[in-house]
């Protein structure tokens, strides 16, 4: 372990690898998110993720935001364990009827001001699951949504982009929900 830790002292961090076009975009985006988040919320934006019946694809990509390449925590974007600690609810899935109650209760457990980001195509309107007896058909059917991030699933870079869009939008609105 010492060897690995020692190496990491001298190795360039993964987050600053020689950028391909994609990596450059990530860095640029990361700086922009950092500035906007700071203006709005000081240094922190706490996100509570809720799976409201997704296939788990979106969760995998949201997870990836925490890996060393994207490392969202460096901008003060933090995933928290309780809605009580959250500024943003990040909701995935078409909202199954079996999850509807839990989503509503989580929303009400989140203190104001709060924003809801719906992630993924099925979170918009049910996507390919729309019309099923078992789904409500999109997050906005159940709680007010401030932003949709499309994709099936959206890659981590698009989720970061979406958070930036949210920060811009909320900076313009005086009174968020």
């Amino acid at each position: 372990m010492r060897k690995l830790l020692f190496e990491s002292l001298f190795r360039r961090p993964f987050t600053e690898q020689a950028p391909s076009a994609d990596d450059a975009a990530a860095t640029e985006l990361a700086i922009a998110v950092g500035l906007a988040a700071r203006r709005r919320l000081g240094r922190s934006l706490s996100i509570r993720e809720i799976d409201a019946g997704s296939c788990n694809g979106c969760e995998l990509e949201i997870h990836a935001l925490n890996n060393a390449y994207y490392d969202v925590e460096r901008f003060g974007l933090r995933f928290v364990a309780s809605p009580r600690h959250a500024d943003v609810l990040m909701v995935t899935g078409p909202v199954t009827k079996n999850m509807r109650d839990a989503l509503e209760r989580t929303y009400h457990a989140t203190p104001n001001p709060k924003w809801v980001v719906a992630v993924g195509d099925c979170a918009r309107d049910g996507g390919c699951f729309a019309g099923s007896y078992a789904v409500a058909g999109g997050v906005s059917q159940v709680v007010p949504v401030d932003l949709h991030i499309p994709g099936c699933p959206p890659p981590p870079i698009n989720i970061l982009q979406g958070l930036l869009a949210l920060l811009d939008q909320t900076a313009k609105n005086v009174a968020p929900t």
Partner: protein, 503 residues
């Protein structure tokens, strides 16, 4: 006791069911099948319903023989399998919720997928628009001095899928865990009915996001079996490449995540860098990080070009270079081993009884791997080992994954070296008369089963069985006697799918 083939001969064999036989049997033969399962002669692969029929897929593992037996139940009753063979219990509860068919003599008739929220009952049969039956779900009891309950979920603390866990604990020690699932039930089998193949394969690829390749693979193979489609060679090999990339990415992620749940974050960080490399290479090669919608009935939609090959090669080289040091780190960190060794032990007898697939079965002495046992192409032409351990603890499940990462690396090397040229897709034709197909594909988590009946180019009925159906109940057994704080560790080492199970 007859052999599995003899059993199917005691019923009416269907002509258009491929590649294994399906036979409509009567109740006595159905019960013979149940006792064969109960005695451990055969294993249960799946149990599913139609409005007035129940089907059961059975495997004779040593002989690698598979058969489907079906029982017509016009009066909506059938003899319970779960009464003799507990792995069938949750499947029977699901059949009741979706079709209203009653498993006679079942010791557990509680609802499973139906949480009383759909506004109807029996949605896939003669649906009844109904109001709530008003009864709260009855959890199993545990009695004794000083026991307390801990209720967790459906919304969990991490970025994971929803489900409810009810722990009964004595101090720190878990006395009983009971799961309640079904929260992510989307009604996929309902949406499948009447869908054309394009839509159906898209739905199949969204049953469980982490197994999108495995599901599309299994679905496509079932269609191809039903319609007797011959898939071009290049597509066959590309499918295995996709499947191994998927396995590689998730195994790497799991090894890191398990260590993370033992608060060893260094492994988590370094494993996830390798995982991200695989996802990016997959994106370069096939246009999607999870390789969604690439496998379709008849072949694949996306070819592999030089750029893709190089990206995969680069990711592989990186893993070859870095992964051994991580394995050594895992092996030599006593504080980590202290958490994983002897924790969450799953006994081999239970793994066998439940026909537990994937790393869960293989860490508890069950050597089944669909790639080897059923040897579907191109795995019949590839060389690989199926690692098996007998300890059944968290540590064993980590090691199986580590060994499988090594095997997948070797498989990908072989595929890239021998990838044949040629067309990518055979166009599926339409047949008027009903055709049925069954397929089993080894996903990273275990064997995914898809059974379907096609008529006139559309799905008449499609059943998708996630490996988690037979793994979730075992987690309840493995956690018993462990401390509550080790539950995340045990749970992650199982890494069962919620969405794949809930459908």
């Amino acid at each position: 006791m007859p052999s599995l083939i003899d059993l199917t001969r005691q019923g009416r064999q269907l002509q258009h069911h491929a590649p294994w036989p399906r036979s409509v049997v009567d109740a006595p033969v159905w019960n013979i099948a149940a006792s064969g399962l109960a005695q451990g002669r055969w294993s249960l692969l799946g149990l599913w319903g139609e409005p007035a029929t129940v089907h059961m897929a059975i495997i004779d593992e040593p002989a690698a023989e598979i058969a489907v037996v079906s029982l017509d139940c016009p009066d909506r009753h059938y003899p319970s399998i779960g009464r003799h063979h507990p792995p069938a219990l949750r499947l029977e509860r699901a059949i009741h919720d979706l079709f209203g068919l009653v498993a006679e003599g079942s010791p557990d008739p509680r609802p499973w997928l139906d949480h009383n929220r759909w506004g109807m009952r029996f949605p896939l049969a003669d649906r009844i628009d109904s109001l709530s039956n008003g009864l709260p779900y009855r959890f199993l009891s545990a009695e004794g001095d000083g026991l307390h309950q801990i209720a967790v979920g459906p919304v969990h603390a991490g970025i994971i899928e929803p489900g409810h866990f009810r722990f009964t604990a004595s101090g720190e020690t878990v006395v009983r865990l009971e799961q309640r699932l079904g929260y992510t039930h989307k009604g996929i089998e309902g949406l499948m009915i009447g869908a054309d193949l394009d839509r159906a394969v898209q739905l199949a690829g969204r049953v469980s996001g982490d197994s999108t390749v495995a599901y599309a693979f299994a679905f496509s193979r079932a269609v191809e079996a039903a319609l007797e489609i011959v898939v071009p060679d290049r597509a066959v090999w590309l499918r295995a490449l996709l499947a191994e990339l998927e396995r590689l990415a998730h195994h790497l992620g799991d090894v890191g995540a398990i260590c993370n749940d033992a608060s060893f974050t260094l492994m988590h960080a370094l494993c996830n860098v390798l995982r991200e490399d695989v996802l990016r290479a997959s994106n370069t090669a096939f246009g999607h990080r999870l390789m969604r919608d690439v496998i379709v009935p008849g072949g694949v939609t996306h070819d592999l070009d030089n750029r893709g090959t190089q990206a995969i090669q680069a990711a592989l080289d990186n893993i070859h270079r870095r992964f051994p040091a991580l394995v050594e780190l895992y092996d030599n960190t006593a504080s980590l081993q202290d958490r994983t060794v002897d924790t969450g032990v799953l006994k081999p007898a239970l793994a066998k009884q439940y026909a537990a697939g994937g790393y869960i079965g293989r860490a508890s002495g069950r050597s089944f791997d669909a790639r080897r046992t059923l040897a579907y192409p191109p795995y019949d032409r590839l060389s690989f080992d199926v690692p098996v351990l007998n300890e059944g603890d968290v540590n064993a499940r980590v090691w199986i994954r580590v060994r499988e990462v090594e095997q997948s690396l070797s498989l990908i090397d072989q595929i890239l070296e021998r990838l044949p040229e040629g067309p990518l897709r055979a166009k599926p034709g339409h047949l008027r008369e009903p055709r049925e197909g069954l397929a089993i594909v080894e996903g990273f988590r275990g064997d995914v089963l898809v059974w379907l009946r096609l008529r006139n180019g559309r799905i008449e009925r499609c059943h998708l069985r996630d490996p988690s159906w037979f793994q979730w109940p075992l987690l309840e057994a493995a956690i018993e006697g462990n401390i509550v704080a080790d539950f995340p560790l045990c749970n992650k080492s199982f890494n069962c799918s919620y969405s794949g199970h809930d459908l």
